[in-house]
Structures are given as structure tokens and as C-alpha cells.
Amino acid sequence: MKIPVVKYLRRPTIEQNIYNFFATITGLTIFSFEFFKNVFIPPYDVGEIKRHMDELGVKTFPIVSITGIVIGLVMAMQLQPVMERFGASDFLPATLSLSIVRELGPVITALIFAGRVSSGIGAELGSMRVTEQIDAMEVSAVHPFKYLVVTRIFATTMILPILTIYVIFLSLFGGYIAVIIVDNMSPAYYVNSILSSMKFGDFIPAIAKTFVFGYIVGLVGCYKGFTTDGGTEGVGRSATTAVVIASLLILLFDTVLVKITLILWPTLDA
């Protein structure tokens, strides 16, 4: 696996920046190919995958829990006066749930996840690289890509959809808290409004795209960590750039995936 080297200079030229941009895209593409080439080949390292799902996923629950409740609360508080202005207060639960399920829940969870996990993976693999731990694995005839990268990308791809569903439910709960503070809406009415406005087709593409976001988070973190150079400074840079690239790719792929969804299932547009 030959990956183009991204060179960081203190004062990079435009040519160097352009080169780094394309080197990063090429590197990510090669990493992607390598992942799919290795993911189906035994050994499957189930223990490692479970460990990463716990380390990278389960330990993200506290921060996404707070985020989930706050999204619901704030969205409901913001929407409530606006809906009232247009005489559409009854549609508040439907509007709130559709925004959260279709867009805000998946994207905000993915961005929070990228902030915590991409940087974490980038820093961890980066320090392993600069302290020769990855080389040590390689010389002992262990395939470091399979052991370190495949397991992490698989774990992030699987855990993000679960986190997203959890955040969506918490956001809707947060939304309800905001609604009952200003309005005397019964829980039954709130839940029924959500269920009657929501189609299965709202939910499936939204959750499906989180698999892609989870994959991006793992891929970018592993790529930046695995290709770290430049000592401890390089480790810090890998952690930071991993978050930036992962967040940008999440937003880019979100736009593309939303458009694809609307082309494939135009009724969702209605």
C-alpha cells in the first residue's frame, strides 16, 4: 500500500496546498479500497471490534445525550413562537420531529462523533506511529492495517447509527419538555402527532446515511493517524486535521446523500 505523503510546511505555497489536497483524497481512496479488501478476510478480530465499539461508541453516550436533549429543547423553543405566528401551533410536533429525524439528529450526532472519535483515533494511531508501535506490529508479521484500521472503521460504522437513533429519541423528549413549559400539550397528542406525520421513508434514509458518516469518521481518523509523521507535533496535527476533514466530508456527503434520496424517493420531497 503506497500512500502519497502529505507534507506540512510552516509557510506552504499554493502548489503545496493543492498537492496536499489531492494527496489526501488519494490517500483516503486507497485506505477505502484497503478497508474493503481486508474487512472480509479472516481473522475478524471480533474482540477488538467490540472493544472499539465500547471505547469509541459507548463512551460517547454522555456527550450525545446532552446534545440530544438540547437540540430538542432549543428547536422546540425556537419553533413554538414562529408556528404560533402562522397559526400552526398544532403542527409543532410534526415539524420538530421531521427536522430532527431527517436532518438534525443524524448530522449533529455525526459531527459530535467526529469531534470526539476522529481526533481520538488520529491521536492514538499517530502516537503509535511515531513511537514505532505500528512498525513493531509490522515486523512481527502482524498486518497492522487489518488489526488497527479495519477494526476501528468497522466499529465506528456500526456504532454511529445506534447513537443517532438514541439522539433522535432524546431530542424528541427534549422537544416535549419545551412544549409543555409553554403549552399544555398532552404526551399522547405529542406522540400521536409525531407518529401520524412521520413516514417510514423519513426514517430509513436518515439512518442509512449515518452508516456512511460513521465510516467517514473512522476512515479519516485512521488515515490521519496511520500516516502521521513529524513526532509529537505531527500527532497533534493529525488529531486536529482528522476532525476538520471528517466534519467537512460529513457535510459534503450529507448534501449528496440528501439529493440522491430525493431523486430516488421523490415522495419524500412532498
Binding site: 513511537t131 514505532e132 513493531a136 515486523v139 512481527s140 508479521a141
Partner: protein, 252 residues
Amino acid sequence: MADTRRVEIKNLSKGFGDKVVLDGISLHVDIGENLVVFGRSGSGKSVLLKCLIGLIKADSGEIYINGKFIPDLTQNELNKVRKNIGFLFQSAALYDSMSVRENLEFPLKRLFDFSQTEIDEKVMQTLEHVSLTEAVDKAPSELSGGMRKRIGLARSIITEPELMLYDEPTTGLDPISSKEISALILELQKKLNMTSIVVTHDVTCAQIIADRAIFLGDGKVRFEGDMDSLSNSDHPFLRDFFSHNIINEQEN
């Protein structure tokens, strides 16, 4: 290649950008022999080891280990060769996220089909070799520099390799620990009948370990012979190198 040769290198060259680090190096190591590679910092000693094990691709030249031409091997074939090679890194390169036990178990679990009982036995037996059985459940961060080197050594020899490569095994250690590690390397080499290549600039370490030594300078092999003839050589490179080492040793 002769049957007695474990390693043979012919005209090996490697450069980084404009800088030529190895310039047509040739050497061989016989089975059971300890070869010490000397040289000043930046003389390409570690690059030589990394080319040998396939971590760095050489620009040109031939590398044979047990008669196998290393540059032509596929990844799987190279891994088969690597199963018989141990490598002790300068920093020991212990896996931070694993305990000492897990560090030692790692190659056994990944590369062999031992039962857990066999693995446990091997781990304890290898830790006995390096006199660190009490550290079995410690994390690498809880170990001193010397202990890390010993555990790194234990991890490298647990698979009973035919060839051991040591990259600056005594760097960063106090003189007493350096001597202990050097003696340990020699003892293990005799016990396990291994062939070794030791890259170092520590003369004391080399005097304990070396059957034969070479001196690298400006990317070339400047001297080859036993330790006595090396330290008594009139070559200006060597005189300078050894006089500085003797002064350092006296200071220590």
C-alpha cells in the same frame, strides 16, 4: 548463497532526497553469529536494519535472509520470513494500550495456534529469561527504561526467532543497565541459538556481544573485523570514534 549464511546483503543503496544514506553496502552474517554494526549517529545503521526487514524499501541492491531474496517477496511471503525474525526497537515500541502480558501474548495469538495454557507458560518462561516475571500485569507506562527494553526483548524472542535485529539496544540506559542488557542479549543468543545483528554506538555493549563488527561511515562499510582489530585500528574514523567512546566510558 552459502548454507552457513543467515543474511547476505550485496550492494545495498538507499537515499532520502539528495542524501545518500547507504551507498553500495555489502555484508553477510553466518548462522549463530553476532554481528555488531557501528557508526556515528545518522550513518544509516537503523536504515540498514529497516531495509533488511522490509520496513524501508532499498533503492537498489540484494538482500537475502535464509536464502530468500527479500525485495521480490509478496507481503504474505515477507510475513512468513518475518515470523522467524525478532526486532528490538530503540524505544522498545511496547504497545501502550496492552499490559506486559498482552504485549507478549500478541504475536503468539496472532501468528500461532497455541492453547491459552501454552501461551501462559511461554509468557512466564520468557519473562523469567529477562528476570521480570513480577511485571507481567503492569502497563508499559509503569516500567522504567531498562525494564521496557527487557520486555521489548522478551516480546521479540517469545516466538523463538532464528534471527534477532537490535536497534540501539542500550541507548538511553545507565552504564550498569547497558551492561546488563548486553549480557542478557549474549546469554539469550547462546540459550536460543540465534543469529544477531546489533546496531549500536556503545563500545562496551559491542565488546560483550560481538563476534565480528563492521563500521559504517559515509554510507559505506569502512571497516570489518573483530572488536580488537577494530578498536586498535589506525583508521582516522575509528580512532576518533573509539577515543570519544573511551572518554565517555571513563566519565561514566
